[in-house]
Amino acid sequence: MKGVTLNMENKTSSKIDLDSVFSVKNVSVNYGDFVAVKNVSMEMYKNKITAFIGPSGCGKSTLIRSFNRMNDLVPSAKVSGEILYQGINLYDQNVDPVQVRRRIGMVFQKPNPFPKSIKENIAFGLRVNNMTDNLDDRIEKALTQAALWDEVKKDLDKNALDLSGGQQQRLCIARTIAVEPDTILMDEPCSALDPVATKKIEDLMQLLVNEFSILIVTHNMHQASRVSDYCAFFTTKATEDGRRTGELVEYNDTKTMFTNPIQSLTEEYISGRFG
């Protein structure tokens, strides 16, 4: 049996099988007095791909952005509860968000290369992290890992904005892994890409998962079923004041989730009856 469970009592048994990367306890995220996502508790595991699925507005992007403290950029955002990353509470006062983001990389929905050369795009992260020894080797390694090296090795000085959307996104993955994080968060990385480019990114994820733990938010549940080892399904519920709050409905290993979901809501979603 795989050690997947939401029960805290069984935590010890799950630890034997898998190392936990993120341990989320009763996490809610508010924007002002608006509750975006409420009372999420879950464990995510090392060297696995965990997917967050669910309809728009269910708080999955909000949640993933609190995992590397990107939500700090929104002044009204407030995270309550505990997010433990390898045992350390990310929202502890002594934790430096800059260091958090350096260890937990992020790939965004829309490819966002810097308007500079391909080489500079990767060198920037290395420079700000003082990893400038063997700069060229590191750039080559990152591009190779991101399955982009063969396509761009001849024109590393070309402006990154001249690449295709799929190549840009792989460049963004390359610059993320260049700074050697432990975990990569992906916020709908394929939503702006065509199926061929999407396939490339999905294949890439299967390779990267050997070295990194990956968390992916996706609208596309087929993608979740194809790439992920674990899957969390979120949905929205109306609150008394008529606004909608995201909630975690079910979290399980992907196979179980898609063949034998426990919650009827999950079954309805994955069978396409809503969402």
Binding site: F124, G125, V128
Partner: protein, 306 residues
Amino acid sequence: MNSIKDLTKTNKEKAPKEIIFLCVLYLSISIAIITLMTLIFDILSTGSNRLFSDYEVGLVTKQQINNPQDFLTSLDSRDPLKAGIGPAFVGTLWLMIIVVFTTFPLGTGAAIYLEEFAPKNKLTRFIELNLTNLAGVPSVIYGLMGLAVFVRLAGFGRSVLSGGLTLTLLILPVVIVASREALKAVPDTIRQGALALGATKFQAIFRQVVPSAIPGMVTGMVLGLSRAIGETAPLIFMGALTYVNYYPDSPLSGFTAIPIQVYNWIGYPQAEWKNTSSAGIILLLVMLLTMNSIALIIRNKFEKDW
């Protein structure tokens, strides 16, 4: 009745209205362009003979004493045929240098602070509102302020430095607003991308956001500068000289500028001064066109398709 023939039918009932409206539009644009062209043609025709050929006054052709090209380099004179724009040209160059070196750091600095660092509170809103208002303040007011602050209080005298600083104040609001627009045009995803790689806020702003905004900032700067060199009123108010027979050699020397020189010349009674002042205007026009073209080239070359 909708038949496929409707697609080919020309809609004749509507046509007269459309034609009239189009004519009004053409008329509006023609008035603007014809006025401008007339002015430019008039200036070129009266100014060119001072620049490039001999004078004809009545029936007599007067040989110009100086080589025509000397107009740019000779000093002012009581004789319209000898008067050159040298000191005013150099004075304008001095002003431009002072304005660039003060406006660029101050303008971009203020813009970066307001756009990237300033807390979004009432004070910031108040400053932003007043920046927009300052951009609309009549330029003579800046001249009076330059007189009070730089000439008298700071003790720079009626110098080219005081003039440059006055013009800096004049164009600073415009440059700040343009620089802020340039920063705003950098998508937020660039900031987030940099931060997600473990960059600090400073690194993200100064190594990614600001470099991406530099072309826009430079464009704003050049346009501000071209406004500054065309200004006459504030400089006259703060006490620029009108007859200068030497080249300004330090920031504290007295000076005149092209628009003041032209304004001065055109007030003299002899007919030849008209040609001389037109020649001065041609020089100013060439400078303005050059600078605006530079701004246009920078904008087109570095315009990004995010």
